[in-house]
Point group: D2
Chain length 385, copies 4
């Protein structure tokens, strides 16, 4: 019942199940897995897609020949396991050269190197069939604002993004970009810190039509934002090109926990929204297993991400056919568009605001019904009705 299918379009990054458990206070605890091996295991679990940073697949400094051999081997693994490349991205944050940014680095050469590296990563992604290219500017930020003018930095950022969209157009790639925001970590503060600020920024680019967002549960939650609201704005703006699913507690280091393992109710509204909105992109898990786990725990973790999604998908279906719940939902009839006549009519109406204010919204009852539904304390039997 809760088994993943290809139709679910579940995807994992190579770096997610491949995460080796290092953290700021301790080294790796799990052995390295080879990308083809990861693909094979993902295929067995029923996963549809895999994603990667350029260097998850091809090590920095590999020769063209080495690169091609790696790509060929990876392609074979994909075919063998019927796994798709759902997205590609570029690592602009690990090498020390990026320690003060990639597209916003003060150094002209670092910025050009970032373009070189990204163009190559785009080529790699396209070669392997990726339709989405995520950009996360993890080092685009500051600890001290004394040294970098933030207005200038945004101009540099835009120049970099424009360059890349022109490159993709010039190459006639069908690739679309998805920008990923994060408030902080590894920088003290990262520029364009929320998904909302990315939506604003996109409209200032040369080719906004091929640039959307990749909101991540953990990143918006770090700032205490309501992720369901964040995704709703992205969908409503036609900009949800990709999504990073995981879990996180508010106001903490980037946790990347198993999907649904925190804020179960919030995860429910998110799944409900994705399922009901017609979102057709990858459902991408950008998470990793606890450092306490060995390899076996990693696969439990991966299976758990998908299982919880499926459980919540089922809850959303129950919600839709729960008569008591549905009876409490209110239709939100559109506000009339402006006309001089309508404005006059509205201005002239006497609204009995005390009467309008008197009726409660029944949200406590509704929210408790949802609690019951999520807990399996109601609705299990609905499937029979």
């Amino acid at each position: 019942m809760y088994e993943p299918t290809k139709k679910d379009k579940f995807a994992f990054g190579l770096w997610t199940v491949g995460n080796r458990g290092a953290d700021p206070f301790g080294p790796v605890v799990r052995p390295r897995m080879d990308p083809p091996e990861i693909v094979s295991r993902l295929g067995e679990l029923g996963v549809w897609g895999v994603s990667f940073h350029d260097n998850d697949l091809v090590p920095l400094g590999a020769s063209p020949k080495e690169r091609d051999a790696i790509v060929a081997r990876f392609r074979k693994a994909l075919a063998a396991s019927d796994v798709t490349v759902s997205m590609a991205t570029v690592n602009l944050f690990s090498h020390p050269v990026f320690r003060d940014g990639a597209f916003t680095a003060p150094s002209f050469d670092v910025r050009r190197y970032a373009l070189q590296k990204t163009m190559a990563a785009i080529d790699l992604g396209v070669e392997l069939g990726a339709k989405i290219f995520v950009l996360w500017g993890g080092r685009e930020g500051s600890e001290s604002d004394a040294g970098k003018d933030a207005v200038e930095a945004l101009k540099r950022y835009r120049e970099g993004l424009n360059f890349l969209t022109h490159y993709v157009k010039d190459k006639k790639y069908t690739l679309r970009f998805a920008l990923e925001a994060k408030p902080n970590e590894p920088r003290g503060d990262i520029y364009l810190s929320t998904n909302g600020s990315m939506l604003g920024f996109i409209e200032t680019l040369d080719h906004p039509e091929i640039v959307g967002v990749n909101p991540e549960v953990a990143h918006e939650t770090m700032a205490g934002l309501n992720f369901y609201h964040v995704v709703a704005q992205s969908i409503e703006a036609g900009k949800l090109f990709h999504i990073d699913l995981n879990a996180q507690k508010i106001g903490r280091y980037d946790q990347d926990l198993r999907f649904g393992s925190e804020d179960f109710k919030g995860a429910f509204y998110l799944v409900k929204l994705l399922e009901e909105s017609g979102y057709a992109g990858p459902k991408h898990f950008d998470a990793h297993a606890y450092r306490t786990e060995d390899i076996e725990g990693v696969w439990q973790f991966a299976a758990g991400c998908m299982r919880t999604y499926k459980i919540l998908q089922h809850k959303a279906a129950l919600f839709a056919r729960d008569k008591e719940i549905q009876a409490l939902l209110k239709e939100q009839k559109p506000t009339p568009p402006y006309s001089r006549k309508t404005a006059s009519a509205i201005a002239a109406t006497r609204y009995d605001i005390d009467r309008l204010a008197a009726k409660g919204a029944d949200y406590e009852r509704l929210d408790q019904l949802v609690t019951d539904l999520l807990a399996g304390a109601r609705g299990q039997t609905l499937s029979a009705s």
Copy 2:
């Protein structure tokens, strides 16, 4: 030296110095002050502008005659004190009728009443000379997402805003709107929770050219965002129409503290940015005195907001002519625009990334110099040099 002048364009809301000190755990502690009295005291302090919600000036339910008498008296006070109306806004959050939103209320009648009230508030603002109209949707949000579809709510929100921009255009008002975001409080989560999400939303409106943002220190800081970065994005996008200055600790209830009384360094970068960017709008303090204070403390509070701004303005000037600091700043030469040739050239270059990575950024030294500057431990004598 730190005395405010009219040129500083400092402004206070009637509700800020008029705040009576009530909070969720206790009632008011200070007497009500009449708007003309407030204007008179602000004038004495050297304040340039005053702002108001419709009901700060004209009580809900006042007759047209009462309204006109209030307006006349207020206008006289403004003239007598040489104080300008710097901004007007509408209270769509206090009356219980708005308890589930104004423009996003499920009730069709509540939404139309919100339009009625806002049109009247716009008329009032325009009549008193306001050029900016702030909209803060304090009740546009939810505690439980079971009852309100967030995608639908955003559509309702847009319909409301579009209606109002058409109204302003139709009336030939020169008024511009400034949207104010807040992550939460009084709602569990407020829609369009950050200034960035407002920037994204504006681009989806019928008349984005007359709609900008009103970022508030406290609101963005509640979510832990870097306010200097937030304002930089707004300025760079040409959307900083208004600003709300105050202070706040991260991850707390909305504190609205005296400007500069928290995160002194952050306040410095903000002032430096406002002064150097050519921002010409009101410098509006949306803050209030501690509940521990009596009326005398309120005026100390107001004077303190402006004094700290002036101190930081002076520090920004010192920063600009501090040779040791300036020598550490790096020019950020633009990234080249895309051309096939440039792309090829970049792709063909061998960047010595280890060499590029070797040099530190000197930010610790620079940040310490700023600390010294802010502490008066350097730079005081610079004015002589």
Copy 3:
């Protein structure tokens, strides 16, 4: 199955279901309910206990005669509904006299008045059968630390608490105190800001044996602390005298949401701990209905708090008899006590730490099983087995 019973010892404060929905941005939305009426409704819902601040029951300034009449009427209502007074407390935060603290107020007279008011509240509580007296120092704190020496303030705080424990002993009351911490709101920062700091402080009092803690979900969660850990420390120290159940998002204003409506998993571990530890005190809901609700919503809210507790109580029972889960739990055999011989033996042992490090903890699997259990996706059928 999820109906509350007296044995559950569920309790509500008069101010919780009596909350009228005012917040910093809007006035009350619900009518006042009389204490006897509240008691009657609580009784109908199956609630065991009721608690109150002195002024929830007896208005400030009531004459002795008025007080006695109120007490008599309340006592009658208690008897009629078979509801117990589970706890009493004192309001040392609403009246402006306390705006800079009660026991830590700089004013000697304010501190003595606080003692007078608290002694009277203790008498009132004892008269009505309370065995627990909660003290929450909501105004004991600061916005600016310039004016109050925190070391001195703690000495004043201790003097106040010592005075009251001596009073209770002298009166031969069997009453015990439970101290309630909160990090901030209504003060910028409140002294002794976490339950942990209260545990430390208690040990410095004259009579620590009659002073314990009253941890509150919302208060510890505001600071992002793990409430299950907080309560575990209190229980392990023999200091859990009372508990305030509700829900809250991290890093926000004090929300006092319906129990279990946030962090469902955290609520589960809390209920499991209370049920399995032998905690025999009141399960006290210190929460209130959303401002969107009318009176009907208030009772839905109250019923929901208890229902969710009962659901989680049942889940805890399922956890205890779920064989797959139980098989994953590890016994935590005690560490040996110190002796010179044991120390030498330990020092001399060669631990194969790489081998010890190799085995994963299976926590991803376990946590997913708990997710399934909480979602009703496993374990429902266990009751049959």
Copy 4:
């Protein structure tokens, strides 16, 4: 004027200036420095003390002979530079064997190995003259509370600590322990998450008299707590055995920033408290340079920590002799101790609470004077008076 002296008792950990700039998204950026080299550079900067984890000095797995050689060389460097070992500690968090805790690990063997390692680290510290031994239980916690019973874990924790205090007593060491709390990172939640909870826990140990606390700015600030209040409680309880100075933004990953580089005002109250309370222990900087820095930046960082402390020390002196500020401070006359007579007298007094409530506290004015003082906008000339 702001030069450090030995009397200041400034100290740095080997791991602080030795931090190589790795973070969760990138590897090291700075070369390794040898402990004797670090000591030499610290000595040149005027630093009084150095601290270390066992493995900062002696690598895990070193033979007794290697260890002794390292110790001898280190001792020589200390003598040559006139640097003292101010504190020693043990690394119970890096090796994978500790991934589920050290003293709270479910594994009996891991817990005994943790004792073995800690006894050796104590011996090492004592040998090198340390009088304080810090214990930070970075891995004592959980991501999922399903697998570890927190009550049991606290019992294990206590057993471990008791074992070690007995060891120290048995060895006749004069060493005292200082427990360091942290809310989270690297674990999802760490047990005994705040300094306050450590104070509570200490009282349950066998030898509380030799166990105190080591509060850290960053750790308490992560939870949004007021660090000045935290340290005040520690001092007032006689438990401030050590202190970790750095800077941090609320609700973020552990930043360990240069002292005073965030929350300048908070840092001022802290320095003022340390200076005025008679605290005689090390002033230990547990911080590191930004990843953007090279080695030169590291030493700028270290000098900056001390310089800012000295600036604030000077500001505290100015505060003490600023007449306008001093005139606003209120004496906090003790509350009378309990006697039946005093209680009766208090009960019988009629306090005019409205009159007592009328006078404001002048905190806005006072806080602004402190702002001016910290900004060098007042008080610089006081030194002449």
